[in-house]
Amino acid sequence: MSIGKLIFNFLIYPGFIFVLLVGGIASFLERKITARIQWRVGPPFLQPFYDLLKLFFVKETVIPEGVNIPFFILVPVIAFSSAVLTSVLITNIFIKSFQGFTADLIVIVYLFTIPSLCVIFAGAVSKNPLSSLGSSREMKLILSYELVFWTSLSIVIIKTGGKITLRDILTFQENSKPIVFSLSGFIAFILSLIVMQAKLGKVPFDISEAEQELIAGPYIEYSGALLGFFKVTHYILLFSLPAFISVLFLGGLNIFKYLLLLIFIIVFENTNPRLKITQAIRFFWFYLFPLGIIGIILAVKGL
């Protein structure tokens, strides 16, 4: 296989450009469906791309006084690059000649935490009381959902007989049936749907952003292109997280499975109020984690 094709796969299709376009369209769908639920008309189709163009090419970037400037600039870039890398790793398993590498499940899960960590750093480096509060809340949120996420992933690993390569999990599901069609798999699927909502920072768990109390949370001091990097990260995660869940539980990725998960995210977002951080931790640790343990026991029993 030629290097040129590899670069094409990583940068254009199904890599960076493709993921960015799909993420932008997903963001448009999110805003449009939210608007329709509230009986409004909603934004035009290209709105997410207009926002990005504006942030990257028109607006000035203001750097607050007294911050660590290299760190302040690097944080959104790192969040963006790790989000791109994650989505490229997920989409490239569908390419015949590449098909991922050994134990890429673990790598992907760790890469998914980097954007959240960057949100924490962004809040901490901004020198703003509201953003520090936001980053402290994000920290607690990560502590609460990561446990449940690993629990639900371990159910998948037990069901597939100890496979930690994404391609192997996919092949296993193609040979038998998707993991969601068993009792323990269904429990794991529900858990990871809720974790997905928390990782995306959507409404029941948008505790760190919390527009009404913290204004914009960790992003409050970011402007111009740096805010644009956070926006792009968000768009890409809106594609890559549902894609990851779909590969793990629904046995592959196609447009219907992706839209199903996306619409679930949007409806879940629009029908729930924001939790307090204590409620979120209690919800994850004392309700979902025991459910996950039950799921693991069922998976070991073979259900």
Binding site: R31, A35, Q38, W39, R40, V41, G42, P43, P44, L46, Q47, Y50, D51, L53, K54, F57, V58, K59, E60, T61, V62, E211, I215, A216, Y219, I220, E221, Y222, S223, G224, L227
Partner: protein, 140 residues
């Protein structure tokens, strides 16, 4: 292509309240509701001045407000449009002779548009938005 044309496709509004009577604030919320939904034009309210493209001022500028307004304008990433919303912000209204009035807004920072009215009707607000957009595009 004029860069400001892209800006007019997604205007994020920051709302600065300098002692308004809440009448104008409620009218601002009015144009976000289903009947007049301005998200059609990509306009949305943001909470931080660092994200804003439009600074919307309601209420007569008070002595305490004028310091903050100047600070906020200097913090904002340029280009930014400034809109005076309501009679009080535009011309100090009935508080012209009040003890705590400061100078009018346009003596502190450059103003792009005035939307008079007490409070302005939603139609007037949308007309004001159209004028701001046209001004940013350089059509008027």
């Amino acid at each position: 292509m004029n860069k400001l044309k892209i800006l007019t496709k997604s205007i994020w509004v920051f709302h600065f309240a300098s002692g308004p009577c809440n009448n104008c604030d409620i009218e601002i919320l009015d144009i976000l509701t289903p009947r007049f939904d301005v998200e059609r034009f990509g306009i949305k309210l943001v909470g931080s001045i660092k994200h804003a493209d439009c600074l919307l001022i309601t209420g007569m500028l008070t002595r305490k407000g004028v310091v903050r307004l100047k600070e906020i304008y200097e913090m904002a990433p340029k280009p930014i449009a400034v809109v005076c919303f309501g009679s009080c912000a535009s011309s100090q209204g009935i508080f012209k002779n009040s003890y705590n009035r400061a100078v009018p807004v346009d003596e502190v920072i450059p103003v792009s548009a005035y939307i008079p009215g007490c409070p302005p009707r939603p139609e007037a607000i949308i007309d004001g938005i159209v004028k701001v957009v046209k001004k940013l595009r350089g059509e008027i």
